[in-house]
């Protein structure tokens, strides 16, 4: 695992409060300076040992970013090894800028998710915008044309005074950047919980399409080959930034605001087009985006992958500001920049292409045989560090993990003691108006989801679908994670995140190809956080193995806490699925009067961790719903086979809000249509209606097709039961719920806007 793009703000490591001024290079390296760089004494000793001398301040800066949690994965590396990363379709798994998978027809998809949490809390618009910019570069740096983006957002309680401001800024920033690049934002998720009040999550995903034999990697090879800098000029952006991503929030961190970078989507668009044009030629041997730790990490990582060294001459770097020191130039996180390794004879051709797009392209160094990262400033050497010291020799930690004592307490839930609401209609209304369940249209209306004319299923369905021009195929995309489940039981929660994502793909009829994950957790130096982290990974692993889904890329974001309180563990899963025939898909909405409503899977009456418990009883408690991966697999396979066979009028999975909410949502098509559902509670009606048992999909189909569905289900050993009929203008569930669809739909479609406007 390696660093090297716009991640969670700065790579972490440069001095926090104004220490980084212009004359840093001359300043002495004192213990305070070492500490301000986020390095421990032991780490500093190791640096001295690796160098065989004291580092200069510039070198210390380079070590601090390369050894930061963010770039080095020092706390997570040994846990990430548990992910299954192999598969017949995997071309590049973790280790490259993004994962790459074969989709046939000579094509491959490239995808990855990244966090931009801390910068987005400090400056929501720019933080989110530059997060989108960073992930786009990770994808097109591999030669792929980005064709779809997703985003996964977590905010604090909607009633928190800052929440509306943050939501508006983040959503505006994602749209402002993504729309301007011409990549459709086809999906995402957004949830609110007070655990994110002062530490929001902004995770951005992009998928690109590339010809199988035109994939580029970030590799510096061929001694003497020129190293070329392209894109925006370098400013002091991010240099002053402290160890934002590798440090918890505290009072006063808002004062670090000047560190936030401003995105320029227009330049990114030019950079994207210029790079893709360049990649049609044979001019370059390697290419890498500059993100966290900018020039430093891109050069070092490329050298690391190529088994070579790199020598840079900083006086050639295009600068935006005057008087920048080598320290600042090396650690700047200015956006919209890339580093290329070219063939010497192709430099002119390369420069002509960038000039056509009005972008700087300057030779700033060369590949060298000696495996060293050497930096010159007007010929004077300012840093010389063995590449391996920055990459392979970076420390890794086996941090202690322990199940917190309060976990038993948290999981306790005495259902019998819960007061029983009288009016289930009212509860359903309340849930449909919960910002965690209400329509997300207010959000995705602000994103262009049609550009590139591939969008078959726009946001609003269980998974987005885009077609692949020139083929009959399509891709399905989704992002999921229930942080509440993960808090109550990280192992189950990790499983559920993977299972739910795959289930969403099954609902449209797609077969999962692979996933990318963004592991958002608290402070890894705390035992309980490491326990949550390791448990979640093991849970995800189990689900991946059972459902046959490799992990091909991902990102870790630690230190998501405020004033010592961690967020809910939030291992976000973005999953990509393949559709052989993009016209054979299902959507969530009931269509035909008279269709049967059928439940795949079964109601098991589990209330733990439900949105109902939170909204109505203000509790986050219990054990999350159990996961039976065999059942999960059967339900998904049945649904997928039924879609492929063209049997289904609709398919929608049961998630937040349980069966009643899933049924209501299925009624909210355009135009809406009602349903009469005939189910009886064995115990309490609220448990049946609002419990969030896993592995359930509500489908509708013509009566005459039911026998065939039953056949498919029985092949998979999956229960499949008629629970009602589509029709009318009301949703009726037994004698528990009876409400007009237009009324419910109106509540559901307007609630989010009412909360955050």
């Amino acid at each position: 695992m390696s660093g090297g793009t716009t991640k969670d703000g700065t790579a972490g490591g440069t001095p926090g409060n104004g220490a980084a001024s212009t004359n840093l290079d001359a300043a002495p390296v004192t213990p305070e300076v070492v500490q301000a760089h986020g390095l421990t004494e032991d780490e500093y000793d190791e640096i001295r040992r690796l160098l065989g001398r004291e580092p200069s301040l510039t070198e210390l800066g380079v070590f601090s970013v390369m050894w930061s949690e963010h770039c080095s994965y020092k706390s997570s590396r040994r846990h990430l090894k548990h992910f299954p990363t192999q598969g017949a379709r995997v071309i590049h798994g973790p280790g490259e800028n993004a994962g790459v998978m074969d989709i046939g027809d000579g094509l491959a998809v490239v995808f990855k998710i990244e966090s931009h949490n801390h910068p987005s809390f400090i400056e929501p618009y720019q933080g989110a915008a530059t997060g989108v910019g960073g992930i786009l570069r990770d994808v097109f740096t591999m030669g792929a044309r980005p064709i779809a983006s997703l985003n996964s957002l977590r905010f604090g309680d909607v009633r928190h005074p800052k929440t509306p401001y943050l939501v508006n800024g983040v959503v505006g920033g994602i749209g402002g950047y993504g729309n301007c690049i011409g990549v459709p934002t086809v999906g995402g998720d957004i949830y609110f919980d007070e655990c994110y009040d002062a530490n929001i999550l902004v995770n951005a995903f992009t998928l690109g399409l590339v010809e199988r034999d035109r994939i580029f990697t970030g590799k510096a090879s061929g001694a003497g080959n020129p190293v070329v800098y392209v894109g925006s000029k370098t400013g002091r952006d991010g240099v002053h930034g402290a160890t934002m991503a590798s440090e918890s929030f505290s009072e006063g961190s808002e004062q670090r605001r000047p560190t936030v970078q401003v995105g320029d989507p227009f330049t990114e668009k030019l950079l994207l087009e210029a790079c893709l044009e360049l990649m049609k030629t044979d001019a370059i041997v390697g290419i890498q985006d500059m993100g966290a730790a900018g020039l430093t990490s891109s050069a070092v990582e490329m050298a690391g992958r190529g088994g070579s060294g790199v020598e840079l001459e900083l006086s050639h770097v295009p600068l935006r500001e005057q008087g920048m020191t080598p320290y600042e130039i090396l650690l700047s996180e200015s956006q919209e920049r890339m580093l290329l390794v070219a063939r010497p004879e192709s430099v002119e051709q390369l420069q002509a292409i960038f000039q056509r797009w009005d972008l700087d392209a300057v030779v700033v160094g060369r590949v060298i045989d000696e495996p060293v990262f050497r930096v010159l400033s007007e010929g004077r050497e300012v840093a010389a560090i063995p590449v391996a010291a920055l990459t392979d020799a970076a420390p890794t930690y086996d941090r202690p993990a322990a199940r917190p004592a309060r976990q038993d307490e948290v999981q306790r839930l005495d259902e019998a003691a819960l007061p029983q609401p009288e009016n289930m209609n009212r509860v359903l209304e309340q849930l449909l108006e919960s910002p965690n369940i209400a329509s997300r249209e207010w959000v995705y209306r602000q994103y262009d989801h049609y550009v590139r004319s591939n969008t078959v299923v726009a946001p609003g369905g269980d998974a987005a679908v885009v077609r692949i021009k020139g083929t009959s195929r399509g891709l399905a995309l989704t992002v999921d994670c229930n942080g509440r489940f993960c808090y109550l039981d990280p192992h189950l929660g990790g499983m559920a995140a993977v299972a739910e994502a795959a289930r969403n793909l099954a609902c449209v009829g797609a077969t999962p190809l692979g996933l990318t994950d963004c592991l958002n957790f608290g402070n890894p130096e705390k035992e309980e956080v490491m326990w949550q982290f390791s448990q979640a990974i093991l849970g995800m692993r189990e689900a991946c193995l059972a459902l046959d889904i490799p992990v091909v890329s991902g990102n870790v974001s630690f230190y998501n806490e405020t004033e010592g309180v961690s967020i809910h563990p939030t291992p976000t899963v973005a999953m990509v699925g393949l559709l052989e025939d993009v016209e054979r898909i299902a959507r969530p909405w009931f269509k035909e009067e008279g269709d049967l409503v059928v439940l795949l899977g079964s109601n098991r009456g589990e209330l733990g961790g439900s949105e109902y418990l939170k909204v109505v009883h203000d509790r986050v408690a219990g054990r999350p719903p159990a996961m039976d991966l065999t059942l999960e697999r059967g339900v998904q396979r049945t649904c997928r086979a039924a879609v492929e066979a063209g049997l289904l009028s609709s398919a929608h999975d049961v998630s937040e809000g349980g069966l009643a909410v899933a049924l209501a949502e299925a009624c909210f098509g355009d135009p809406g249509i009602g349903a009469v559902i005939d189910v009886e509670p064995e115990g309490r009606p609220d448990v049946l209606l609002f419990g969030e048992s896993q592995s359930r999909i509500v489908v509708s189909l013509k009566k005459q097709d039911y026998a065939r569905l039953q056949e498919l289900a029985s092949t998979e050993n999956t229960s499949c039961e008629v629970i009602g009929r589509v029709g009318g203008t009301r949703l009726v569930i037994g004698n528990m719920v009876r409400a007009r669809v237009d009324h419910l739909k109106n509540l559901w479609s307007t609630a989010l806007e009412r909360c955050v406007k």
Binding site: P258, V262, F266, S334
Partner: protein
């Protein structure tokens, strides 16, 4: 009372808009333009009689809403009605 507020990007903060305008002006033949910064200009009509009052409120409005202290600076002028 008329309050004129000028909101500009802090020094060192990238101004993509200014850069684009500058490039355009260059290609239109205005080569003498060396740098362009784009900001916001607001006119607030206020129903207060004392200039100090307007001033105080203007400062608070800028701090709270009109400027984004993360990346922007502001400046304002108060114009008393001519009478």
């Amino acid at each position: 009372m008329l309050v004129k507020v000028f909101v500009t990007l802090k020094e060192g903060v990238l101004d993509p808009q200014g850069k684009a305008v500058q490039n355009s002006l260059h290609s239109l033949g205005f080569g003498a333009v060396q740098d362009v910064r784009v900001g916001k200009y607001l006119e607030l009509h206020m129903d207060v009689s004392a200039a100090e009052d307007a001033e105080q409120q203007a400062r608070r409005m800028c701090d709270k809403l009109l400027a984004n202290p993360v990346i922007e600076d502001y400046r304002f002028e108060i114009l008393e009605p001519a009478e």
